[in-house]
Symmetry: C2
Subunit: 246 residues, 2 copies
């Protein structure tokens, strides 16, 4: 795949920072990576890297520094609630050398959401964001996410994150969607490897992946071709089919 | 959680590099992170960072460089099959400035596995490993993983990875298992935040996390305490219970 790396425009790509001791401890299985990967691939700003880091300031700041320089868009999930371990907003501010402020638009969302009209100090903390942040609406539980520089800060609860991403995607310029087509063969990869490598050499601009599945004691192989060019993709799939169905 | 970062001995911790275009494209949902996180927490060598990178040499080499210096153990999953996109072994060799060789023990495993006795060149490629690598047995499909320096290289197919990890863990000195206890309350985090922060301040050596769950239109909160000291953990849970059940 090395050829492709030079063609990849990382500024038209996205990265994700999952902030979560609960994922690293094995307490919770992440469900956000998959959703964001699929959504951003379709939107043409494909996910090219994910980092899962603990709820520790230095690790979050380091990841934001590193990824926000390399990728066009960086998402974060987790750590934006009202408790002592919700340190994401302050870390993002620190990463960009910004102060924190009570965001007016975010505070108004909280007032609208809590039907008792009571925005306690703990609730209000969820409106504390880096100076100049733009909010990402939360259609599920009120407290918004936010955007600062090229970083999109979202909740960790999957249902809430999904609502935020659906809103955020509308604010991200779309690229050419990455299309994919898959063929499945009941052969192990080792019987496919040589000829598949030849097909890859023949079509350097299409990313051809080979994925073994273990099922009922037998190895199957899925061959997946990915490209933004549908005609080219059809051609590759036709060649793969003719090679392996022969 | 900032206090804890200074106490964390990263050399007694592990990190994971998931090598997988199929995860980043949203084609496949990762199932390995969760399994490795749980297993290594119980083994006392907890997972402290995960990176998911594409099948691109420079990105894999960079991740191996960075994480193998910081953590006691680094796992990788994916990219060790026989096809053109299986570049993990060569990347690990490059990261450590090592050459590649046909590993004898690995080759013997292949001969044993293939009942037809036929180790084709494509199959034999799975025995090509960095010079000096020690193999990790694969009880499922024959082709082994390997260990070089502090990096443990495993398959990406979950069933195969699990078999390899079960074997590898026996070769990793265990630490103090990280224990966790959880209490669930039907209140949103904002009603818990202030008093929970006080409990955290009272017990700086226990990691107290608060995780919202959205269920039937209502926010619940799980409070999770983690420590290697069971007596201390019991004490924290007792305090949390007495504070929030009052």
């Amino acid at each position: 795949m090395e050829n492709l790396s030079d063609n990849q425009n990382l500024s038209a790509s996205s990265a994700l920072i999952v902030i979560g001791n609960e994922i690293l401890s094995g307490r919770t299985q992440d469900k956000n990576i998959y959703y964001i990967a699929e959504k951003m691939g379709s939107h043409g700003v494909p996910l090219r890297e994910v980092r899962i880091v603990p709820d520790i300031e230095s690790r979050i700041v380091e990841a934001v520094h590193s990824l926000s320089k390399q990728y066009g868009i960086v998402f974060t999930t987790g750590g934006i609630g009202p408790t002592h371990d919700d340190i994401t907003a302050a870390c993002i501010a620190k990463a960009f050398g910004l102060g924190m402020e009570r965001n007016k638009a975010a505070y108004e969302e909280l007032v609208k959401h809590y039907s008792d009209g009571e925005v306690t100090e703990a609730r209000a903390k969820m409106a504390d964001m880096p100076v100049g942040a733009e909010i990402i609406l939360n259609p599920v539980s009120g407290a918004p996410g936010f955007i600062i520089e090229n970083v999109y800060v979202m909740a960790g609860v999957p249902k809430i994150m999904q609502g935020m991403l659906d809103h955020a995607v509308g604010m991200i310029e779309d690229g050419s969607p990455v299309l994919s087509k898959t063929l499945v063969f009941d052969m192990p990869e080792s019987e496919i490897a040589g000829r598949l490598g030849e097909v890859q050499d023949q079509f350097p601009d299409v990313e051809i992946g080979s994925y073994p599945n273990f099922h009922n004691g037998k190895l199957w192989t899925s061959i997946v071709a990915r490209s933004t060019d549908e005609a080219l993709l059809d051609k590759v799939i036709e060649v793969v089919r003719s090679v392996f169905e022969a």
